[in-house]
């Protein structure tokens, strides 16, 4: 049996939060640089260059990329050989709380959706978990902004609407979102499962690396076609036109009911902040328990 210490969870969550709010992954920077080179619309190009300049300022002056430092989304992959003698979710939230207070990040979470009283430390995070083989704990975090989240959608299509129905729904979502979702976007699409599963699939999709190619041929072809069609919508950076509306489309699917075709579209704004860490459990001596 193996164990990951509570303090390592807290420290790593805090470290990842502070890093990710002011640093984009290199693949995202590369995508914006490429887009700026290829953009025909002068205003769109100027916005892309400002996004890149913002990243340099955020990094060099220690300022968050965006004032909306998000609601924290956390995906946990928990090795089956690990044991926990503490509350893992509580530890994640302690890490979040420390990051938002000590790091001068914006506290954007209210205790109840209707009384709107701020929790003052940006907790609780939204935490999902699944089990994996082995003795590692993998923590993925993403401070997710409210603007792009507000424009995300879910619809229960009829199976007869099929592939075209899915494509039209994704395009409609992105057109309606316009500048509100802060394009250029990363688009996460979940198809199948049921009502909540397809939203979960879409959320997981936006955390996939941009160069990640899905093994599923149906999903892979859909990603290619959607990428092309989305970038022809002329939504463009901040919705002011141009051929850079998205820098990535990721589709995740799951089996579903014969009566259903659930589709969820989760939009990630251009401030595509995320990080992950792999914590390897240490073997614990449990002879006394035998």
């Amino acid at each position: 049996m193996y164990k990951v210490e509570r303090k390592d969870v807290i420290e790593n969550v805090k470290r990842m939060m502070l890093y990710s709010v002011q640093t984009l992954h290199k693949e995202v920077i590369d995508a914006f640089e490429k887009a700026s080179d290829e953009e025909n619309n002068p205003l769109a190009k100027s916005i892309l260059d400002k996004i890149l300049e913002n990243h340099e300022i955020a990094n060099s002056k220690d300022i968050p990329l965006c004032q909306d430092t998000g609601i924290v989304v956390c995906f946990l992959e928990i090795g089956r050989e690990l044991v926990f003698d503490y509350d893992l979710e509580e530890a994640i939230n302690v890490g979040v709380s420390q990051a938002y207070i000590d790091g001068y990040l914006r506290k954007s979470i209210v205790r109840h959706p209707l009384n709107r009283i701020n929790t003052m430390d940006n907790t609780p995070a939204v935490i999902h978990h699944q089990f994996i083989p082995g003795n590692k704990l993998i923590i993925h975090i993403a401070p997710k902004g409210g603007g792009s989240e507000n424009m995300s959608t879910l619809r229960m299509l009829s199976p007869s609407e099929g592939r075209d129905g899915v494509i039209n729904f994704v395009l409609e979502t992105i057109k309606n979102a316009g500048g509100r979702a802060c394009p250029p976007l990363i688009v996460g699409v979940g198809i199948g499962g049921n009502f909540e599963k397809c939203a979960w699939l879409a959320k997981k999709a936006i955390l996939r690396p941009l160069d990640d190619v899905t093994e599923n041929e149906i999903d892979r072809n859909l990603e290619i076609e959607l990428m092309d069609k989305i970038n022809k919508l002329d939504v463009g950076p901040m919705g002011l036109g141009g051929n850079t509306t998205c820098i990535g489309v990721k589709v995740n699917s799951y089996p579903c009911h014969i009566a259903s075709l659930p589709v969820a579209v989760n939009l990630q704004c251009h401030s595509a902040r995320k990080d992950e860490v792999i914590l390897v459990g240490k073997e614990i001596n449990n002879t006394n328990n035998r």
């Binding site: 913002n54 300022i63 968050p64 965006c66 004032q67 001068y104 914006r106 603007g147 500048g179």
Partner: protein, 173 residues
């Protein structure tokens, strides 16, 4: 070539500005987003004073990150403007001239801007680190209990924005 705007904003300064024009704002602007708008409109409905003289002023839809000890302000990019559509007409009636935010507004809002000869400006979303470099003073003036949503008076120099709805009600969207 960007056009310079200096607060307070007069009709003369904005009458020739057209959608798509880039402007640089210098002077004082006031921050407010959802919660502060709700409180200000409640104040108007209760015949109470607004927390600042709003005539010919600019409201910037922003909830910044807290300033670190060596900073004037933290990250401070715009939030979506459409959420303020139901509050803005009350403030414009009291003399509010210009709003800065991101994204489109309701189609009916174009007429509101035209009626009060105002203007809606777009700041680029998600570049709050860069925009923070234009802010030289930051004073909390009302509703401190709202935390990041409190009203702040910011002194800005050459704050960049794009005309999205002009004083004749024409919209870039």
């Amino acid at each position: 070539m960007e056009k310079k705007l200096t607060t307070p904003i007069t009709d003369d300064q904005i009458k020739d500005l057209k959608i798509g024009d880039e402007v640089l704002i210098t002077g004082y602007i006031f921050t407010a987003r959802d919660s502060a708008h709700k409180l200000m409109v409640e104040a108007i409905q209760n015949n109470e004073e607004l927390p600042f003289d709003i005539k010919n002023q600019i409201i910037y839809y922003v909830g910044p990150t807290p300033a670190k000890p060596n900073q004037v302000i933290g990250s401070c990019g715009p939030t979506s403007a459409y959420r303020m559509d139901k509050y803005s007409p009350y403030l414009m009636e009291k003399g509010l001239k210009v709003m800065i935010g991101k994204g489109d507004r309701s189609i009916e809002f174009n007429d509101v801007v035209k009626k009060y000869k105002g203007m809606y400006l777009l700041a680029i979303g998600g570049i709050g680190a860069k925009l923070s470099q234009c802010v030289v003073e930051n004073e909390l003036i009302a509703y401190p209990e709202l935390q990041s949503e409190a009203i702040r008076k910011l002194k800005v120099i050459d704050f960049p924005a794009i005309v999205a709805i002009d004083c004749n009600g024409n919209s870039i969207y």
